[in-house]
């Protein structure tokens, strides 16, 4: 029995130690840093202040970046939802042996380094890229479109990277959907639209929410997509954080920005949790 306790003790010690040292501590340090004073010589000075937060909420420049970032992430999320929902729906309704192949095909690009894929996107969207070439030779346009270094290019890149994150949770919910409910609604005279809004949409809402959170939250941080495809402007909150940490060396401001991002994210997750709770109660 003593040996058993020893094995058990070692395992618990190892995992608790690891998660406390590399999980809890860094996040606490981050919160702490956001309340410290910036010091050009020594990174931070240990004097408590709310400067970073007041700067974030008072200076219009930061608010503008936040709003732009939310707008860009939201558009990407809606784009993924709009194009991903039918994809997940039709895939879930395919014969099972087809489903796996379609999902694997969806996942293969996803297994490749996302920076490499963003770089590849540049070759497609550039002035001499394949998209402009195709449009020019089809005679649809006379001068190459300037897509690179615009918000559209960033959106195209974000959509490219994030689509599987939307499709997979949607697919998981749609696959479990009881299609007899839809058939019953149709038999009782519901049109395609009302069958969707009254049956399918509410029943797949948890998947929609999960997908939206999985796309929206990381998108705000994908600074390299904005740097490679977007212009010189700071587009995403991720760019702001990266710049505060790596260039401006204003760690308190960078930490405060990320704390605001975490709170934003927590509110969304709590909303999702409440919805799931209501949902499971409704089923009983």
């Amino acid at each position: 029995m003593k040996i058993a306790d020893k094995t058990r003790f070692c395992i618990i010690l190892l995992i608790s130690g690891w998660f406390i040292l590399f999980g809890v501590t860094p996040l606490l340090l981050l919160v702490m840093t956001s309340f410290l004073t910036m010091d050009p010589a020594d990174l931070v000075k240990f004097s408590f202040t709310l400067n970073a937060y007041s700067q974030l909420f008072i200076e219009p420049g930061y608010i503008i970046i936040f709003i732009r970032s939310v707008k860009l992430a939201l558009t990407t999320t809606l784009l993924c939802l709009g194009l991903g929902y039918p994809f997940a729906w039709y895939t879930a309704r395919m014969p099972p042996k087809w489903r796996t192949s379609v999902l694997i095909l969806l996942m293969i690009p996803f297994w490749t380094n996302s920076l490499v894929r963003t770089y590849a996107m540049r070759m497609v969207l550039g002035t001499h890229g394949i998209l402009n070439k195709a449009l020019l030779s089809l005679g649809l346009i006379n001068t190459p479109l300037k897509i690179m270094y615009t918000d559209y290019a960033v959106m195209a890149g974000l959509f490219y990277l994030m689509l599987p994150f939307m499709v997979l949770p949607l697919y998981a919910t749609i696959e479990k959907l009881n299609f007899q409910l839809v058939e019953a609604a149709r038999d009782l005279g519901a049109g395609a639209v009302s069958a969707f809004t009254k049956i399918i949409f509410p029943l797949t809402l948890p998947g929609i929410m999960a997908g939206c959170i999985m796309v929206f939250v990381p998108t705000m941080g994908l600074f390299y997509v904005a740097s490679l495809l977007g212009g010189a402007r700071q587009l995403l909150v991720g760019n702001l954080i990266q710049q505060q940490f790596l260039n401006a060396r204003n760690w308190p401001l960078g930490s405060a920005t990320s704390i605001v991002l975490i709170i934003f994210m927590a509110v969304m997750l709590i909303g999702y949790g409440l919805l799931l709770h209501r949902f499971s109660r409704g089923e009983e």
Binding site: R8, L30, T33, A120, Q242, F245
Partner: protein, 255 residues
């Protein structure tokens, strides 16, 4: 309607595969800027192998990915067993932390790790990179292995105990062999996650230990670099091979 559906799927897959295909084609294209097809060449692959700093970064990335995947799988296996079999103080805290690490955007983890290493006085390089990669892979390996553990027949463990096996023997002779498929898939998952990471790596490594994403990022920021195309083509093939291997193994498990 069926035609429409077909077009729609074709459109999505076209969008997903077009950039990768252009990249692979350009890796063999004589035209440096990939504007048109000028003929077939292996020149860029040679250029890639001769670019020592790029090769060093590639080697570092693979070393980190192998070490991180191995350690994250080992720690993940112990964590999955611990969280599953033992009830102890702080268990919920660990599960919560694991969940937070999985859900938090990479940029948050990146700066949190950076602040940690600077506070602890750990220099940015191999070790800081390894610790962060293990940590962000850990929730995923735990999840993969836990899924497998929950499928176990608990009678097997009871039988082993009734026959007098110690906890160490139960772990080594019963649980570990049954976990093997999950260990392999969690290793592959962690390897891919580690190799794919851009954001965390760019914060927690220093000039002494350059890794691929950083190297590629600084190379392509200024323009097109054909040796990056060659390297990217190789990376795509590597991930394709990994997908095939893991699919074959999942297929094996079903049999």
């Amino acid at each position: 309607m069926n035609m429409l559906r077909l077009f729609y799927f074709a459109g999505i897959f076209f969008y997903l595969y077009l950039p990768i295909s252009v990249l692979i084609v350009n890796a063999f294209n004589l035209n440096k800027y990939g504007m048109q097809w000028d003929g077939f060449t292996f020149k860029w692959f040679t250029a890639m192998f001769e670019n020592h700093s790029l090769m060093a970064a590639a080697r570092h990335s693979v070393v980190i990915a192998i070490c991180a995947a191995t350690l994250a799988t080992m720690i993940g296996a112990l964590a999955a067993i611990g969280l599953n079999r033992y009830r102890f103080f702080g268990r919920k805290v660990i599960q919560g932390t694991s969940m937070t690490l999985m859900m938090a955007p990479d940029i948050i983890l990146a700066i949190a790790f950076l602040v940690l290493f600077i506070s602890l006085g750990i220099g940015l390089g191999f070790w800081s990179l390894l610790f962060s990669h293990i940590t962000f892979c850990l929730p995923f390996t735990i999840m993969t292995i836990t899924g497998r553990l929950q499928d176990f027949d608990p009678n097997l463990l009871n039988a082993a105990r009734d026959l007098g096996a110690s906890e160490k023997n139960i772990l080594a002779r019963v649980i570990l062999p049954m976990m093997r498929p999950a260990l392999i898939s969690s290793w592959l998952l962690a390897f891919t996650l580690s190799l794919d990471d851009v954001i965390i790596s760019s914060f927690v490594t220093g000039p002494s230990y350059d890794v691929l994403p950083l190297k590629i990022f600084s190379m392509v920021k200024v323009g097109v670099k054909p040796e990056v195309n060659a390297l990217a083509a190789l990376l795509i093939l590597l991930s394709l091979a990994l997908v095939i291997v893991s699919q074959l193994m999942i297929g094996d498990r079903k049999k």
